[in-house]
């Protein structure tokens, strides 16, 4: 699975730390998701999308 989380987050001018705090995870987790090293659970993916005001398919997509 690939994602454009970094691009979307940057466009919203939100830091990794802020996104991590608002979604209740660590900054390392956001970093790992952005690097494609970790695929988040459905719950976390939905939280991230809600925070960035996007649909899941806008950020995450299959390879």
């Amino acid at each position: 699975m690939k994602n454009i989380l970094r691009e979307i987050r940057m466009s919203k001018e939100m830091s990794q730390q802020a996104l991590a705090q608002n979604t209740g995870v660590s900054r390392q987790s956001i970093h790992a998701i952005e690097k494609g090293k970790y695929v988040p659970s459905t719950e976390l993916a939905l939280k991230i999308c809600r925070e960035l005001d996007k649909k899941v398919e806008d950020i995450f997509s299959l390879d």
Binding site: V25, S26, Q28, S29, H31, A32, I33, K35, P40, S41
Partner: protein, 141 residues
């Protein structure tokens, strides 16, 4: 606790170190000949043994469990995934070493290895988990 246990463990296993004041009778079961504890009029469930090696095992085991199960500041699903990966890795290494030990180690050396193997899984797991964590934090910073 873990460090002290490991250092004491090395002294016990390789240099047969014992605290003289730790020799006492206690409820336990074991081979009297191996334990060198045959005494007249002693009930079978009482054994006399030096408990330095038991102290080492307890220190290392409890210390390892404390470190292995201590939580991160924000313990989220990603860290649980890291822990799982580290456990799988430790299990593979432990199995490989056990296989090699069964094939190539005999007698007292095998027993010494098995004593280490009692806690080596935790050591491998802790080492691998903190290595993964260190690598991640280095990349993230």
């Amino acid at each position: 606790m873990l460090s002290f246990g490991l250092i004491l463990g090395i002294l016990v296993i390789f240099f047969e170190f014992e605290f003289p004041w730790m020799e006492w009778k206690m409820i336990g079961f074991g081979d009297e000949i191996l334990l060198n504890s045959k005494e007249e009029n002693t009930p079978k469930f009482l054994i006399r043994d030096n408990f330095t090696n038991e102290l080492v095992a307890l220190l290392v085991l409890i210390g390892s469990v404390f470190i292995a199960f201590s939580k991160e500041k924000v313990e989220d699903e990603f860290f649980q995934q890291l822990r799982f990966d580290a456990i799988i890795w430790a299990l593979k290494i432990q199995s490989l070493l056990l296989l090699l030990a069964i094939l190539f180690l005999y007698n007292v050396v095998f027993l010494q290895f098995m004593m280490v193997a009692l806690v080596s899984f935790f050591i491998f797991y802790i080492g691998r988990y903190h290595f993964l964590l260190f690598r991640l934090k280095k990349q993230a910073s």
